[in-house]
Symmetry: C2
Subunit: 245 residues, 2 copies
DNA sequence: AATAATAACTGGTAATGACCACATGACAAC
DNA sequence: GTTGTCATGTGGTCATTACCAGTTATTATT
């Protein structure tokens, strides 16, 4: 990481500065709760204007790396809060962060007419045919969850089994192949009991408690892109989130 | 809502402008996905500078009222996303939003030495005595959850049963009496089975599936303030969250 | 009629300068 | 010693100006 701002660079200065500050935190030069240089000092040090400094700090503040106190200064957030604030993660990202190797078995991938309730939530007219993907999710080669995704695609867009195995996760297919960025989601979590069929697929007894997770995901233009229902084995999965306000 | 900016006002202009724009959305003058006036137009209309306009729009964007598209304009978010982005809510707020009347039975409120694991997460030295509150949570007078809170207080701060019944929620006591603002939290959700004792308190059979929710909450200065463990009846509770990135 | 260049929008980044509000420590007055 | 005042440093707000970078409709060209 260069510790200077490149003034003739396509990368915005505020972003360059944010990267520099972030690296000071990541590499431990600045300790948690430590006061960092004031906005005026950074302005002089990196030869950028104060709005640029403030934009960089705001960016890192939003990500949970720094916090400000009016009249006192800007401080490094304690380690626990230094993880990125990315709330919306895919199943694969989730597991990778916990150090578990994600994997999947694709049970089916085809176009169907989903239940009307789901079409309504996806803001589609009745009887619409959309893509349904049924997968068994594995962590370290042990079955963890049963996932059914309904994905809304344009006429010129499509996803096949190769895409999923190649990219490894639906979110990566959406982002890298189709340029759809999931940015927001409404999610519910509740407890249910396994039906006989679910029990077989998850290798538990019928009636075993499961964690039921439903999520409606929106893209960068606030259009619904995915409705997903995941049944987790209650004994093998813990759901982790970071809340803010 | 005045539709003008008051230039000699303690309230920041960007905030005044944000309130005006928000009211146009709330009152339905601007429909979802509708293009709103450009930054330059708003600048002229309200006689403020562009940075101020941008700050107001950024503020509403963060709250999910507006979204921007480079080169196209700024748009009203669809209704589903117009709710506030408040992620961190108390149990009482949660239920109220669903139209359920929250209530509680306080089982105990006293100072104890909690398990070492919890002290560690609260960043306290071993053997520290802190406040523990055990409550049964009710919705429409039916038992829903079993809650154990550990609260970190300063030497000059205290909470008693009257505070809880008076304010109705621990978060309100923290905010309004002690000026501690919960701003961030790490949370986990998993499935467990009721122990005989838990079963009795929640009026379910022993071994019934429960939703176990643990949360570590931080205040405005990123200091841990509360560790809470809530056991929800699996058949009566659904956990709802809004995710963003 | 189809295509390509262009002009006129949009939001995004950046510099400069000014003043306000809050926190804190030094210091004078009591 | 205690208290209050004040200077100074912090982040917070705001105006002005300029140019860059995407998007879109228009216009000229073919």
């Amino acid at each position: 990481m260069s510790r200077f701002i490149n003034h003739n660079n396509a990368i915005p200065k505020y972003f360059q500065l944010a990267s520099i500050l972030k690296s000071q935190i990541d590499e431990g030069e600045w300790k948690p709760r430590q006061l960092i240089p004031s906005e005026r000092q950074l302005e002089l040090q990196y030869k950028v204007s104060r709005p640029t400094v403030r934009q960089a700090i705001e960016y890192l503040e939003k990500q949970g790396y720094l916090y400000r106190e009016h009249g006192r200064g800007t401080f490094v957030s304690p380690q626990k809060l230094q993880k990125k604030m990315l709330e919306l993660t895919s199943f694969s990202e989730d597991l990778l962060r916990k150090g578990i190797q994600p994997n999947q078995i694709i049970r089916s991938i085809c176009h169907v007419v989903p239940p009307e309730k789901i079409l309504k939530r996806l803001e589609l007219p009745p009887e619409s045919r959309i893509l349904r993907i049924e997968r068994i999710r594995l962590g370290n080669d042990v079955s963890i969850g049963l996932q059914t995704s309904y994905v809304v695609l344009g006429d010129d867009q499509q996803i096949d089994e190769d895409d999923l195995t190649h990219y490894g996760s639906l979110y990566r297919v959406l982002e890298e192949k189709l340029n759809i960025i999931p940015t927001e989601a409404d999610e519910t979590l509740e407890v249910t009991l396994a039906t006989p069929e679910e029990a077989t697929l998850l290798q538990v007894k019928a009636g075993a408690p499961l964690l039921l997770n439903k999520r409606l995901t929106y893209d960068q233009n606030r259009k619904p892109v995915e409705f997903v229902k995941i049944l987790y084995r209650g004994d093998r999965y813990q759901y982790v989130i970071r809340l803010t306000r």
